[in-house]
């Protein structure tokens, strides 16, 4: 029975853990760099890290998957993607599914497998691991992650609640993640930096940059308050390069504005998280484009997608190819590629301004105290909101649209407290947006934006191949 300081977790999970000092000692071992060290090195070198998502139910298959991707794709960080049952704390369902049909799981049930197997996976590859999931309350999973010796844990009380569950109150998820962050703070003092990535991708579909960044910054503020020292802020590629580059660059300036200096903040790009093109050619091109966007935006890491995204969880070879296609964009041969800096600066001005208009009132209300109550209130009021929320605890009144160039704008602001200047500029951007008569048609077309590019390609629809 282990006590991880301040982390309240289910007894059955706690009972199986090694003692806290052993966990810390194991995390301290030096045979492998921490994820934080890999990110710091990438930031210094100026070449982003590429990291695939990957997770299957069976342990042996999982080890083979990691090893195959490492051999063929050479990512600098590898992932344990966790199954949906574990994410929702349905640990028993996860264990049953693992017994009945491990291939039917959409991720690796780490809690069911236990920390020893986590260590086995970690030992099976050279790259350090991150646990990626989507748990409104990830405390048990976090405990097993630490015991497994894994030094990076994705998620936050907002970004792993609103897109990932129906009815977990924000107070519950924020408190769960506060406890997680506090443990990271203790470990940071012990000299073990745990990288905490905030899931700015949210619902992945037409997320306006300022909403993504605002949510991540609020989570990062909470994390920093608990002593977290290494924060990755993830932004989902929207597909309009000037806006995306601006958003990535804004992460650094916003971090300087809102976060204490001692926190290392790394901008991360998530390769397009929405409805993915179906042809291999367009999918590959989009994956490479994400890499180029990351490079131009100064991202420190890219979480890649694969050309099977539209179809289902990819096989190892396809996943490795996704890593390689992304990394191809970092070649010195493309040193000549630039982006229109004037357009980027304009986008960046407005992104930073919108973020301030969303975040500042919340921080003002919190007034230096823990911000969770103010955040909860803002979501309840709709002053913070996300599109297409899975959770009933965001109003989902904000409705995005793409402008004629593909940039993500606001069709409806919902109750977001944007200034008149912000609204005026947004409306200017939307002038000339390809409109159907009916909003739902137009929004559906925007959601399916990248499918239109498939039509330029031969019909090499994977389904027919």
């Amino acid at each position: 029975m282990s006590e991880i300081p301040g982390l309240r977790i289910e007894r059955r999970v706690a009972a199986a853990l090694p003692p806290w000092p052993d966990i810390v000692a194991w995390l301290r071992r030096t045979d492998k760099p921490t994820v934080a060290a890999v990110l710091a090195a990438a930031d210094r070198r100026g070449v982003p890290v590429v990291q695939p998502r990957c997770g299957v139910g069976d342990h042996e298959r999982m080890r083979e998957l990691l090893q195959a991707i490492e051999a063929e794709g050479r990512p600098s960080v590898l992932t344990l993607t966790i199954d949906s049952y574990t994410r929702l704390k349905h640990f028993r369902s996860a264990a049953e599914a693992l017994r009945r049909d491990p291939a039917g799981l959409n991720g690796y049930p780490l809690v069911a497998h236990g920390w020893r197997r986590g260590r086995d996976l970690d030992a099976s590859v050279r790259a350090p691991l991150q646990v990626r999931h989507g748990s409104p309350d990830g405390r048990e999973l976090f405990a097993v992650t630490l015991a497994a010796g894994i030094t990076s844990f994705e998620g936050g009380g907002l970004s792993y609640n609103l897109p990932y569950s129906k009815n977990v109150p924000l107070a519950v998820s924020l408190e769960a993640w506060r406890q997680i962050d506090a443990v990271c703070g203790i470990l940071a003092d012990e000299g073990v930096p745990i990288d905490r990535e905030m899931f700015g991708s949210l619902t992945g579909v037409l997320v306006p940059p300022a909403i993504s960044l605002a949510v991540c910054l609020l989570e990062a503020c909470s994390a920093a308050a608990e002593g977290v020292r290494c924060v990755s802020i993830a932004y989902p590629q929207g597909g309009e390069v000037h806006q995306d580059v601006a958003a990535l660059r804004a992460i650094r300036s916003l971090a300087a504005k809102y976060l204490p200096e001692r926190v290392a903040v790394y901008p991360v790009l998530h390769t397009f998280m929405g409805v993915f093109p179906r042809t291999t050619a367009t999918a590959d091109a989009l994956i490479h484009y994400a890499g180029l966007t990351a490079r131009l935006g100064g991202a420190v890491k890219v979480i890649n997608k694969t050309n099977q995204e539209a179809y289902g969880i990819p096989d190892a070879a396809t996943n490795a190819l996704g890593v390689r296609t992304t990394a191809m964009a970092f070649t010195p041969f493309l040193d000549f590629v630039t982006v229109d800096e004037v357009r980027v600066e304009e986008e960046r001005y407005w992104i930073e301004r919108e973020v301030a208009e969303l975040v500042d009132p919340v921080l003002d209300q919190a007034d230096g105290q823990r911000i969770s109550a103010a955040v909860e209130k803002a979501f309840a009021d709709g002053r913070l909101d996300i599109p297409f929320s899975a959770s009933v605890h965001a109003r989902a009144e904000v409705m995005p649209r793409r402008d004629a160039g593909g940039g993500v704008r606001y069709q409806n602001y919902g109750r977001l407290p944007f200034s008149r200047a912000t609204r005026r500029r947004n409306e200017q951007c939307l002038r000339g947006a390809p409109g159907g008569d009916r909003l739902i048609e137009a929004v559906t077309a925007d959601i399916n934006y990248f499918l239109a590019f498939d039509r330029h390609q031969d019909g090499d629809d994977h389904a027919n191949s």
């Binding site: 929702l88 291939a103 990932y164 619902t203 179809y311 990819p314 096989d315 297409f388 009933v392």
Partner: protein, 146 residues
């Protein structure tokens, strides 16, 4: 001369137990409402028992429509036979989405859902109003499967 409008047509909509994919669910609800349906949308991460409860609360619902995108459709609908044996969910169950894990699909994916008692599997959510109309036009014995 006044005509009374026909009574609203009820459907129950939601996403399977372990699945948090919300976008299609939002859009399907909007489209069904546009087509004149009254939608009880249970949203994401809805256990089968809650679909059954909703059906008990809305016995005139024409169908229970369940989306599943995360690959766990079969595992998440595993209790359907038990609920049906208990006399619940005596209503056409329509399922759609991405119904198995992995990027290679097989015929078994659908077969085993039909074996659980799923009545219709639709590839395209656009077809829902049409299917619902057909279901109403037919007497209860279900059509040959889609």
């Amino acid at each position: 001369m006044t005509t009374t409008s026909p009574p609203p047509r009820q459907v129950i909509l939601g996403v399977a137990r372990s699945d948090a994919h919300a976008v299609a669910n939002h859009l399907i609800a909007m489209r069904l409402r546009e087509s004149g349906f009254t939608v009880t949308n249970l949203g994401v991460c809805t256990p089968l028992e809650e679909f059954a409860e909703a059906h008990t609360a809305h016995p005139d619902a024409e169908a229970v429509i369940i989306g599943s995108l995360n690959g766990h459709a079969y595992e998440d609908l595993r209790d359907l036979p038990a609920l049906r044996s208990a006399g619940l969910l005596q209503v056409p169950v329509i399922v759609g989405g991405n119904l198995s894990v992995g990027s290679k699909k097989s015929d078994r994916d659908h077969e085993r859902l039909y074996e659980l008692g799923v009545d219709y599997i639709l590839g395209d959510a656009e077809q829902l109003p049409l299917l619902l109309d057909l279901l109403r036009a037919e007497a209860r014995p279900p059509l040959s499967r889609v």
